[in-house]
Subunit: 112 residues, 2 copies
DNA sequence: CGGGCACATAAGGATATAATTATAAACAGA
DNA sequence: TCTGTTTATAATTATATCCTTATGTGCCCG
């Protein structure tokens, strides 16, 4: 994952309603209207949260008749790297971090 | 972690500059002015990012004379639960999720 | 003391986010 | 086709975020 993809993932997770949606979808699939009645927010609001989670590929959707059932993308969810591993990835691949690693910072250093 | 604390943690991580700061601090401690020269943004901007990371207890600071050296809170960082574990925690402890789990969601309510 | 350096905080502005209402699109069934 | 239901998108508004410049605070040293 690039730094941009990583921050986008965390942004998608940085909302209480979206976290609760993921928790509910980890138990079973739900349609949009069920989530509306659970959270007490408008249908478009739920739809927007779902869209953000789909952009990060965190959930799948299954159309059945006029309903759309959402479910957790378990393959992706369970394979997300641990926090320490994510930072290791940044150190290894982020150009700015790699560059800073091998460069002397430009502020006046104590003891020099 | 409560749902609010979890979303606050993810919000703190949902920024490329803050992710890079964490990556740099995982290698060694840095002072504010070093980060300014690395990122090419203003000193107050760095200070605000640092403040946000401190609010989530992700970094420590060590004062030495007029400098403040920041470092990764490794004890916290390495003990952060995995993504699947976080969702399990939400399912177990979030009141709204727990309630929804034992309630039949209704879509179109008749008579309204 | 007082000046200079490092960091924190405040104020202001541009952009992003998340909610709402209104509307469009897709589908089922009479 | 017409009607009702479900979901997606558009427009709007309020709030949050992130940057800048300006200013305040704390420490070192002359």
């Amino acid at each position: 994952m690039t730094t941009e993809e990583t921050s986008a993932l965390f942004k998608a997770l940085g909302d209480q309603t979206r976290l609760r949606i993921l928790a509910l979808l980890s138990l079973r699939e739900h349609c949009n209207c069920e989530l509306v009645s659970i959270f007490g927010i408008s249908q478009p609001a739920v739809s927007r949260h779902i869209a953000r989670l789909k952009e990060s590929r965190l959930i799948h959707e299954r159309r059945q008749g006029q309903w759309v059932y959402y479910s957790l993308n378990r393959a992706l969810w369970e394979q997300l790297p641990s926090f320490p591993h994510m930072v290791e990835d940044l150190v290894a691949h982020d150009p700015l971090v790699r560059h800073a690693k091998t460069t002397v910072a430009q502020c006046s250093l104590p003891g020099e």
